[in-house]
Symmetry: C2
């Protein structure tokens, strides 16, 4: 197993561009205390949850409090050709927040107001620093909810920028389907709006979806309008364990092919179950599990659950364990969301390198099983979780960051996994984005022509290449 090219990615190429004192002075004079040059603040804004080696932090951090703040910071940066990296809660996984070309970080967490709740239209407009949990808390009284749930309590701005999704996407779609409109500060500092609150539109180019998933490389998202959904009349969650990953996956494939409107269907392998049990003091069966949730009317939920139970049982699934009270459900989903932290705790001092491929549902079994054999053979501890109803899953390889060889093995495994997913008609990233880590994979996936088109768009909208440069493509 030898993948020097991939391993090299973990120490990203640094091409810091000059940030003059004159620029920093102007920034300071405009933003005062909301411009920090303290090392600790800068360092905190120069990293994310990826396993990249540290790079020098940004030269300054602006704490934006309004769209105008963002526009002024970007205008100034554009004038001085200084990179700008938008920052939410720092939960990115592919190196999006690293200042590989220097520049400044624009922290959006103080722009955290829910601006307007339009319950009658099932929409809400928020500032980019609002997190998904905060949003659901603030709209609680409306009987509506925002389903997109990437695990981390990410900001809506960050989730838009990486085209996030997560556990509920199998039923409710991703940020791609759920963002209706945006306000954006462009690379020249102009404030534009994309989309309207109408549910559909054929009015010109789909700028909304051009910015959703653009990873901060085209502008800074300063307002997000998303769709909301009525809280289901009935919700029930169930766990079902399986004799093998294969049988769990076959169950999922059949659920999807039959069109069962399941709201969540998560695969958790026996490693992850073991880690979660230890971390959260649970006693889940240490076998591959499907963790499922059904939304609908009481009869609808019952019917879905019966269908799924039948399919699961055909594939050797054990009796369902039900969680019908909100408390039980929270316990289950907390366990799922804690898989990452549980894994980190299972090997003190380790880091988890998280993969993120997504394949057409019929290829899920092929892609997963070969990757599991390969990973088992590597000897590296790992866990596997997946939003399998969408064909999307994550291996977490646990490596000791002090041992370069472990990094190399993990990167080589990831390389094989992604290559396999691409061969099977899938994508190199289901929901984490390209960042610094998957630049080469994007070319393999999309082809040089399509990537050149992306680069052309970037050059047209950001001629000085100030918006999060070095991400998505070089």
């Amino acid at each position: 197993m030898n993948a020097p090219a991939q391993a090299a990615h973990l120490a990203p190429k640094i091409q810091a561009r000059p940030v003059t004192q004159a620029f920093l002075d102007k920034l300071k004079s405009r933003f005062g205390d909301n411009c920090s040059m303290a090392l600790v603040v800068r360092e905190q804004h120069g990293r994310d949850e990826s396993a990249f080696a540290p790079v020098p932090p940004p030269s300054a951090v602006i704490f934006a409090e309004s769209t105008q703040d963002v526009a002024d910071a970007v205008t100034l940066a554009n004038e001085y050709k200084v990179p700008v990296i938008p920052f939410g809660v720092g939960s990115s996984l592919e190196g999006h927040l690293l200042a590989v070309q220097g520049g400044i970080s624009v922290d959006l967490t103080r722009m955290n107001k829910v601006l307007s709740i339009n319950a009658e239209d099932l929409t809400v407009t928020v500032q980019p620093g609002v997190t998904r949990k905060q949003l659901n808390e603030e709209i609680k009284s409306t009987g509506l909810f925002f389903p997109i749930d990437p695990g981390a309590d990410a900001t809506l701005g960050g989730m838009s920028a990486t085209r996030a999704s997560g556990t509920n996407a199998v039923r409710y779609g991703t940020m791609r389907e759920n963002v209706l409109a945006l306000e954006v500060v462009t690379a020249s500092g102009e404030i534009i709006r994309t989309g309207t609150r109408a549910k559909k539109s054929s009015a010109g180019y789909d700028l909304t979806r051009l910015f959703v998933g653009s990873e901060g490389t085209l502008g800074v998202i300063t307002e997000v309008t998303v769709r909301l959904y009525p809280l289901p009349e009935a919700i029930s969650a169930a766990i079902c364990s399986f004799p093998s990953i294969a049988s769990a996956v076959q169950t999922v494939i059949q659920i999807i092919q039959l069109g069962v409107p399941i709201a969540r269907v998560e695969l958790i392998d026996h490693n992850a179950v073991r880690m979660v049990n230890a971390y959260a003091k649970l006693s889940l069966r240490e076998e591959p599990l499907l963790l499922m949730e059904f939304h609908g009317s009481p009869t609808g939920v019952k019917e879905q659950a019966e269908t799924v139970q039948e399919i699961a049982s055909d594939h050797g699934g054990n009796a369902f364990e039900w969680a019908t009270t909100p408390e039980e459900r929270t316990r289950l989903w907390t366990a799922r969301h804690n898989a990452y932290f549980a894994a980190l705790q299972s090997k003190p001092g380790c880091r988890a390198i998280s993969t993120d491929t997504c394949v057409p549902i019929s290829k899920l079994s092929d892609c997963l099983l070969d990757s599991i054999s390969e990973t088992d053979a590597s000897g590296l501890p790992y866990f596997l979780v997946g939003h399998v109803g969408d064909g999307n899953f994550h291996f977490g390889y646990l490596i000791d960051p002090e041992i370069p060889r472990e990094r190399e093995i993990a990167e080589a495994l990831n390389h094989k996994l992604v290559s396999r997913a691409l061969r099977l008609g899938g994508t190199c990233t289901g929901e984490h984005g390209i960042g610094l880590h998957k630049i080469d994979f994007l070319v393999t996936e999309a082809g040089a022509g399509a990537v050149n088109m992306m680069r052309t768009l970037k050059q047209a909208l950001d001629p000085h290449n100030i918006m999060n440069p070095g991400k998505i493509f070089t």
Copy 2:
């Protein structure tokens, strides 16, 4: 009522660019019999279903039989800076197909093969000339269907290019949500692919959705991969008549706000019912109707129908008439789809000018009722149909094309309607596109900044402005 600016739009500004004999000779030599310069063929390709006055037709029509044919035609056109207008079945409604800057038409109807059916993944890949009815016919044996239904038997290429939707969108989404991947010939004649068959992806800019809705102005779509859905176990359709449009609309608003997963909910006003009765020899009650369809399990469908009946009855809706056999359903939906032709027949020699706004659902009543009063006051015959579950509706104004005053009145009504929709937070087009007709409205809706951004993207991807020039923006 005076709207000279709008009326003027109906005779589009012609800015024909030179098409040299040398270019036409090269075209003829490359395409032989698949290049037609016969006037009747050119005229047929120089118009659509819009009410625009005729403009001179394109100089030649290429009947493309492969992606390479398209690439060669575009490469040549780009070399000679000649406009290219992609052509499907010609059902566009906003002047998309008019050769206002001259050039050639590329007819894609011979590229009408279903390339691969991936039933296990619920996807299908087709050439752009495949029509929606043909597609559903060819996948019949799989137990799957393609839901998007704009009324006309449009091509998948054309539907992608205009971001089409129609009756089923309230449940299944529009082309925006259902196109997974494209093959595109760019303005320079290069062939690129966007997207994969994976259900979701965060891999770079969303080129798929940049081309969906680009109205032929960025490239020619030569392959389309769309999502399919399992045919519902049970389908039932019902008609319910209401004492007023207001009560019908209130029923719809409540259905949507409750999250009932209704598959279709169409409003048909008393005028349209009258026209359809006469045309199709039906005896529907000549009152505002909701035509609905429910998809799901037998219990699910029953439950949805009961909920909807209760809501309808609260708003004065009459007893439902059910259509549960496929034949009865076909009869009902044929009546709906024939509304346009029924209207044309109701006033011999007339043309229908079709409006197309979409508003947030809570504003539907405000938008509709004021527009109805205005239209009633105008004295112009009209009908009203709407995909009201999405907040999208169409007035059809019946005008005598020989009477300029009628055109002016219709355009003034449309102007007031669109302006109202925009004031209410809606869009100037829910599904027909901008074309030639709504260029000014797009600026009002999106703002000069966003439209400038669209123009920047266009210039970057099509520097010689050969792809369907003069549409979307000037």
